[in-house]
């Protein structure tokens, strides 16, 4: 699946392997299934077929039917059996086919997986990585587009990871699988096949043109809780994750803004040090996410920045988010927090 290319822009010799996000995730699962016999992959359509987004393609054939298998259509059951498997000593990596379908499994995640270590005083743990495609921008309508990360960030005991590049997707997924706490791993499906500038009417750019599609062979980790500097700048801080990292970057570039863009990578644990350092430097902060606004994770970020960096701030913290409506189908691009909404917020922050 690797794409051997000779990248003229970087003058690369062709030894670099460029993957899209799906291939990078597949690679991480393959490596972990190979390295650790306790890792198992399960979910709806993940076995023989290889997943509706192809993230598990070829894994059953390679690792066997008792390591990679299909499940009944029961998210409660998938997460529930994963808790039991974790208690046995396995490291289950269940896939929930769309983040929008995760809700029947919430009791098993919130009341069981998240609290097992605490309530048993470390007697039992639930080391699982729940992978799930999330976010909109693919005309998925209101049941295939949601970004429910704030629900999970609110739950003590869960970690929530959202990669924005193929390199990170692989390294973060390996870290998540090896983590001894339950991890929600949301994969922004809009950028499975290429980064997204937010200009929905422009052709999709493939990942192979992006520097972070270079994915090394073999095992490597990107630690949970460490943000990534996308660009370094002085004018304002942008806090984003997933698809919105790329949209924010494209807008800042188009407007010629000297932005300090942080890709948070994981919202729990949160890299508070990186956030504080950036805002102390710029004095201005924009938060961008695709999820609905009210009580979204941006509210938490805004509160933290205000509480901890108030005397560095030269303008109010701004949030750019989805609207407080279900994700609409035909009006998807009116809903999406794209370049216009972001540009307006940047102008407002930089006005004084």
């Amino acid at each position: 699946m690797s794409i051997d290319v000779k990248d003229q822009a970087t003058g690369d010799t062709g030894t670099e392997r460029r993957l899209n996000m799906i291939e990078a995730i597949n690679d991480a699962l393959d490596i972990m299934l190979e390295r650790d016999n306790d890792v198992i992959v399960m979910g709806e359509d993940v076995g023989y077929f290889g997943g509706v987004f192809r993230c598990t393609a070829g894994l059953q054939e390679k690792h066997g039917k008792t390591r990679v298998f299909d499940t009944p259509i029961s998210e409660c059951g998938i997460i529930g059996v994963a808790v039991g498997m974790g208690a046995y000593g396995l490291r289950p990596v269940p896939e929930i086919q769309f983040a929008d379908y995760i809700y029947p499994g919430l009791d098993q995640l919130i009341s069981e997986a998240a609290r097992l270590r605490y309530r048993s005083a470390n007697d039992y743990i639930a080391p699982m990585t729940v992978r799930s495609p999330f976010g909109g921008g693919i005309f998925g309508g209101q049941t295939h587009s949601q970004s429910p990360e704030a629900i999970f960030a609110h739950v003590a005991g869960l970690k929530t990871v959202i990669p924005a590049t193929p390199y990170d997707a692989k390294g973060l997924l390996i870290s998540a699988i090896e983590d001894n706490d339950p991890v929600i791993f949301f994969e922004p499906k809009r950028i499975y096949n290429g980064p997204f500038s937010g200009y929905y009417d422009k052709p999709v750019e493939p990942w192979k043109k992006h520097k972070d599609s270079v994915v090394p062979e073999g095992y490597y980790k990107v630690p949970l809780g460490k943000a990534r500097h996308v660009t370094e700048g002085e004018a304002l801080t942008v806090l984003a994750y997933g698809t919105m990292v790329h949209v924010a970057e494209a807008v800042c570039e188009a407007k010629g803004i000297d932005a300090d863009i942080l890709d948070l990578r994981t919202i729990v644990p949160l890299d508070i040090e990186a956030i504080e350092a950036s805002v102390e430097k710029t004095g201005r902060c924009l938060i961008v996410h695709e999820a609905t606004r009210t009580a979204g994770f941006g509210a938490e970020l805004s509160a933290l920045v205000t509480e901890r960096c108030f005397y560095n701030l030269e303008a109010p913290v701004e949030r750019v988010t989805g609207f407080d409506t279900p994700y609409p189908h035909s009006l998807e691009w009116a809903y999406f927090p794209g370049p216009v909404r972001i540009g307006e917020a940047i102008d407002k922050i930089l006005k004084d």
Binding site: I40, T66, R67, T71, P72, S74, C76, G77, G80, V81, A82, V83, G84, M85, A87, Y88, G89, L90, P92, P104, D107, Q108, S111, E112, L116, R117, Y118, R119, S120, A121, N122, D123, Y124, I125, A156, G157, K159, D179, N180, D181, G225, V268, P269, L270, I272
Partner: protein, 434 residues
């Protein structure tokens, strides 16, 4: 609001009016109780199918009632597990210990030593006898009323009381409601308190054991009321799909707090019959008959170990006391129910069986009951040295923030510092109750 079709109390056509059925138990407080409608077969009349039987050939077992101990106090029929006298005496002692423990802890709660307690009076056989049919390293996923499993597995009584008191000796660090025990060492899963969540977890553990080619099986216990949860349906589906080596024990004690079993569907069918739709083996058992409980669990364990499939067992029993120390059953059911319960008391029935065998007598029973009471009393005194709830002898404040994650994140470090700062102001002498 958009226009909606009008709803009206009066039907506008001549079609028969639909009626909603809201179940109602047969007896309410003060009512005379008559259990003659219950079909209770004589002990020993049920055949014992092969453990590898096809569930389709076991339909009668989902509606019948497996019974071993007869009115004559003798063991009858093919389900007699033929246990030796020492095993029977151990079983009786475990059950007596559970009863002595329940009595003392209930009083302890009334004396203000803890917040909450739940007895299992009348249901002792469903946990003690059935868990004795499992290997000690078979994994159990209990609900909150299976203290009998821990006692049968030799978990220290004093540790149970430390947990109930949430004191500084509590192995769960004072985090859990009383009786929500956990012991990995005793292959006893952490009790949740959210109902039926343990059922798919048990199936998952059993699937893991099968993935690894292990020989250990899993068993779970759930009340009849909470079989209505979606988790139980998921558990049955996953169990049958993967032929998981698991036993699903449903304790039908007739009452879920104040809701009788009819609110989980018992007016229409049995709980064992749930098995049929899934293609699971289903057994319905006299839950007050310790030998039948043992025999059914043993049958299901053999079946699971032979990769012959999961089993759903309904134990037909009666919750002789309130749901918990927070419940008063005189408010919703007839006190006569307990007196008239036609399957008797599980401890008395096993005792009478041992006496009938010439292996026991009333004097030894009295001495044993006294010994159990004394042991529990001594363990209580021992546990009280570690404190009782709300009297200052708890785990250090910092433990409140530990085990949320494997490592403390920055926000919990900050909050732990705050809790310790607040402590100086709120409790200058050290802590709550100090």
């Amino acid at each position: 609001m958009a226009d909606r079709p009008e709803t009206s109390a009066a039907p506008k056509s001549n079609k028969p009016a639909l009626q909603l059925h809201v179940p109602e138990p047969r007896y309410r407080p003060g009512d005379e109780v008559d259990y003659s409608h219950l079909e209770i077969p004589e002990a020993g009349t049920q055949p014992r199918p092969d453990e590898t039987s096809d569930p389709k050939d076991m339909l009668d077992f989902a509606y019948g009632l497996v019974r071993v101990l007869g009115e004559d106090n003798k063991a009858h029929g093919a389900w007699d597990p033929k246990l030796d006298a020492d095993t029977l005496r151990t079983m009786l002692r475990n059950m007596a210990m559970v009863r002595a423990f329940d009595d003392r802890m209930f009083r302890g709660q009334r004396q203000g030593k803890t917040s909450f307690y739940m007895k299992c009076t009348g249901e002792e056989a469903t946990s003690v006898a059935s868990s004795m049919a499992l290997a000690s390293d078979d994994m159990v996923f209990p609900s909150y009323r299976q203290q009998g499993i821990l006692i049968a597995r030799g978990y220290p009584i004093v540790d149970m009381i430390n947990q109930i008191y949430s004191n500084k000796g509590d192995k769960l660090k004072g985090r859990q409601l009383p009786i929500m025990y956990s012991s990995r060492e005793h292959s006893f899963f952490s009790i949740s308190g959210n109902l039926a969540t343990q059922t798919p977890q048990a199936v998952g553990w059993a699937m893991a054991s099968a993935i690894k080619g292990d020989s250990r099986i899993a068993a779970t216990w759930v009340g009849e009321g909470s079989t209505a949860e979606g988790d139980f349906h998921s558990a049955c589906t996953f169990a049958t799909v993967y032929n998981a080596p698991v036993i699903l024990n449903v304790i039908n004690n007739q009452w879920a707090i104040s809701s009788f079993s009819g609110f989980a569907g018992a007016e229409r069918t049995t709980f064992a019959a749930r098995a049929l739709g899934y293609g699971l083996a289903g057994l319905r058992v006299d839950g007050n008959d310790a030998l039948a409980c043992y025999a059914a669990q043993q049958w299901a364990a053999n079946r699971a170990r032979a990769n012959a499939g999961p089993t759903l067992i309904e134990y037909f029993t009666y919750r002789a006391e309130g749901h918990s120390t927070s419940d008063d059953p005189t408010g919703y059911r007839s006190a006569q129910e307990r007196e008239e319960w036609p399957l008797g008391d599980p401890v008395m029935r096993l005792k009478n069986h041992l006496i009938e065998l010439g292996e026991w007598d009333e004097d030894r029973q009295s001495a044993m009951d006294l010994e159990c009471a004394e042991l529990v009393k001594a363990a209580t005194k021992e546990a009280e040295k570690n404190g009782i709830l709300g009297h200052g002898m708890h785990h250090p404040f910092h433990t409140m923030f530990e085990d949320v994650y494997e490592e403390l994140p920055w926000n919990l470090e900050e909050q732990a510092e705050q809790a310790i700062r607040e402590r100086q102001v709120k409790w200058p002498k050290g802590g709550p109750g100090a």
